[in-house]
């Protein structure tokens, strides 16, 4: 963090003819005067990743203050949750973090299932859920990778990232019929069985992706200009990360070894971890300071390859079987409250469901990781250059659908 203690001393000295103001001060006339410039970055700006507005105070190229303004995409999703049935709320969860809709479905389903103690989730359903969630994590990180390149000014990686993302979307299209808002993982399992040959295609994707991933890393992450642009920028110290409640890659980028999949396991992630299928990439401060933008970016890029490993493990152990537990057509949830946090691509996605035993939720809270991660912006921005502010916003990897809900 750079301390902002600059004061301006105009090069032209004030003239003697000044008048005395009512406050007793003397007013001088300057030929040249400087002042901070207030710039609205957004609501429509290429670097804000949606309709978010950041009010910047700049001193030339130097940013001296930043204030995020949210709410341009506020749709009252939590209120909707109190007015529709449990299953009917599922499509709305797609629309928080629209880049990782499978994970949102999963989080919501797990939160509702936590209130239904008798419900058994078939093993095949769990594995398909894991595969879908991890594939969607890759798809989401690909966007993070591509758009971060775009923020820094490299266009081509964005298209390479989209090429693979399109493939994942085509896979999802085959399994559930939608490309973005899947509504596939539902309470009690998944909506329908994977079509024949789908798992083979996923395996093929894994093979190809591992090759392409190396190219991504060479093309963008190790590029000298990219490294120079992102190292030592937006440093989040571990203390700061704790204080702001950061989760996910933002937390791991600061070198804190914490992943909900391993440390507070849900579904079958314990089994996968114990089988040694994946590691948890951490920010290392390899290129600059620990917890800078490069570290966060690096964690995201490396997580993609770890997700591939998880998918491969699941493909190895999956067996035929039912994919939906014993769920009635109109779901009635026993009274109770549950909070379930899962590892979304952006951090901990928490769903707090409160049921009074009826068909409709009493409270349907979503703890969006982007919302929390964005708060750190106010502290990171001052003292950086204008171009760095873009790099910092990009490295938080927010989805405005989730910050505003």
């Amino acid at each position: 963090m750079v301390e902002q203690t600059q004061e301006y001393k105009p090069s032209i000295q004030p003239s003697e003819e000044g008048r005395v103001l009512p406050s007793g001060e003397r007013e001088f006339f300057f030929d040249v005067s400087t002042s901070d410039l207030e710039v609205n970055m957004g609501p429509q700006h290429p670097a804000t990743h949606g309709v978010m507005r950041v009010l910047l105070r700049t001193d030339g190229e130097l940013v001296t203050g930043a204030q995020p303004h949210l709410g341009y995409l506020h749709r009252g999703a939590e209120k909707i949750g109190e007015n529709v049935e449990w299953l009917q709320y599922l499509p709305y969860t797609d629309r928080y973090d629209y880049l990782a809709a499978m994970n949102n479905n999963l989080g919501y389903s797990l939160a509702v299932e936590a209130l239904m103690p008798g419900l058994e989730i078939p093993r095949r359903a769990t594995l398909i859920r894991t595969i879908c969630a991890e594939l969607n994590r890759i798809a989401s990180h690909l966007i993070a990778f591509g758009t971060y390149g775009l923020d820094i000014g490299a266009f081509t990686p964005f298209f390479y990232a989209f090429r693979e993302r399109e493939w994942i979307q085509a896979l999802f299209e085959k399994i559930c019929g939608a490309r973005l808002t899947y509504s596939y993982i539902r309470i009690g399992g998944v909506f329908n069985e994977a079509p024949p040959g789908w798992l083979k295609e996923v395996e093929h994707f894994c093979d190809v992706f591992e090759e392409k991933w190396k190219e991504y890393y060479d093309l963008l992450a190790l590029n000298h200009i990219f490294v120079m642009r992102t190292k030592d920028i937006g440093v989040i110290t571990p203390e700061m990360a704790y204080d702001f409640g950061l989760t996910g890659p933002m937390l791991r980028g600061s070198g804190i070894d914490f992943d909900l999949r391993r440390d507070m396991p849900y579904m079958d992630y314990t089994e996968i971890w114990e089988a040694g299928a994946y590691q948890i990439p951490l920010g290392s401060g390899e290129k600059g300071t620990l917890g800078d933008c490069w570290d966060r970016f690096d964690v995201r890029v490396k997580e993609m390859i770890e997700s591939i490993k998880i998918v491969r493990y699941c493909l190895g152990v999956i067996e035929p079987g039912p994919v939906l537990g014993d769920v009635p057509k109109v779901i009635k949830v026993p009274p109770g409250e549950a909070y379930v946090g899962i590892e979304n691509p952006r951090g901990e996605l928490g769903h707090y469901s409160h049921s009074d035993g009826g068909k409709v939720a009493v409270r349907c809270r979503v703890r969006g990781p982007s919302f929390v991660n964005l708060a750190v912006l106010e502290d990171l921005m001052p003292g950086t250059l204008l171009a760095d502010s873009v790099a910092i916003i990009g490295s938080t990897d927010i989805v405005v659908g989730e910050t505003d809900r």
């Binding site: 704790y242 702001f244 109770g336 946090g341 809270r365 708060a375 505003d404």
Partner: protein
């Protein structure tokens, strides 16, 4: 630590404002109790909210470094209380704790947790605009998601949807 151990430890260190633990229970037909599923809670006194969080954060056996979530809930339109719910998470010990405080709807106010966890800042702004809860000592108590001139607290159960907003019909 599991919830039982955390609760016992909180009792042992005499955490300020701790009232009771609310654990899930099976339904009981005789007392017409519908039971409660889900997760256990700790209920605290709203007045000593900040002190309680400080204990949770700084006690070496608890070390809840992260305030994951702070939200409110309006259980029913005829209920006289609002709930404030806090989810704490310890990275070191890998455990969670859910904290709940009851606030009367007539005067919903609670000390702000911003001094303990800065993560609470935006969550509190959201609770403030959605439920009309006053967080005493919050450094920046503006609306965050709603426009500054919004009337009413939309997430309350007795909220009535406006007929129009700035000349735009909402029917």
């Amino acid at each position: 630590m599991d919830f039982k151990a955390i609760y016992d430890h909180l009792r042992a260190v005499d955490a300020p404002g701790l009232i009771e633990a609310d654990e899930p229970r099976l339904p009981d037909k005789e007392t017409k109790d519908k039971g409660r599923s889900g997760m256990p809670f700790v209920r605290i006194e709203p007045a000593s909210f900040v002190d309680f969080l400080l204990v949770c954060r700084d006690d070496p056996k608890l070390t809840f470094e992260l305030l994951v979530d702070l939200t409110a809930s309006d259980p029913a339109a005829d209920d006289e209380n609002l709930w404030v719910l806090v989810q704490l998470l310890s990275v070191k010990h890998k455990h969670r704790l859910a904290v709940k405080a009851y606030l009367p709807k007539s005067s919903a106010s609670i000390p702000s947790a911003t001094a303990v966890y800065r993560a609470a800042q935006w969550h509190e702004r959201e609770c403030g605009e959605m439920y009309g809860i006053t967080f005493v000592g919050h450094p920046d108590p503006r609306n965050i998601l709603l426009p500054d001139d919004w009337v009413g607290y939309p997430m309350r159960k007795d909220y009535e949807f406006p007929k129009e907003y700035h000349g735009v019909s909402c029917e």
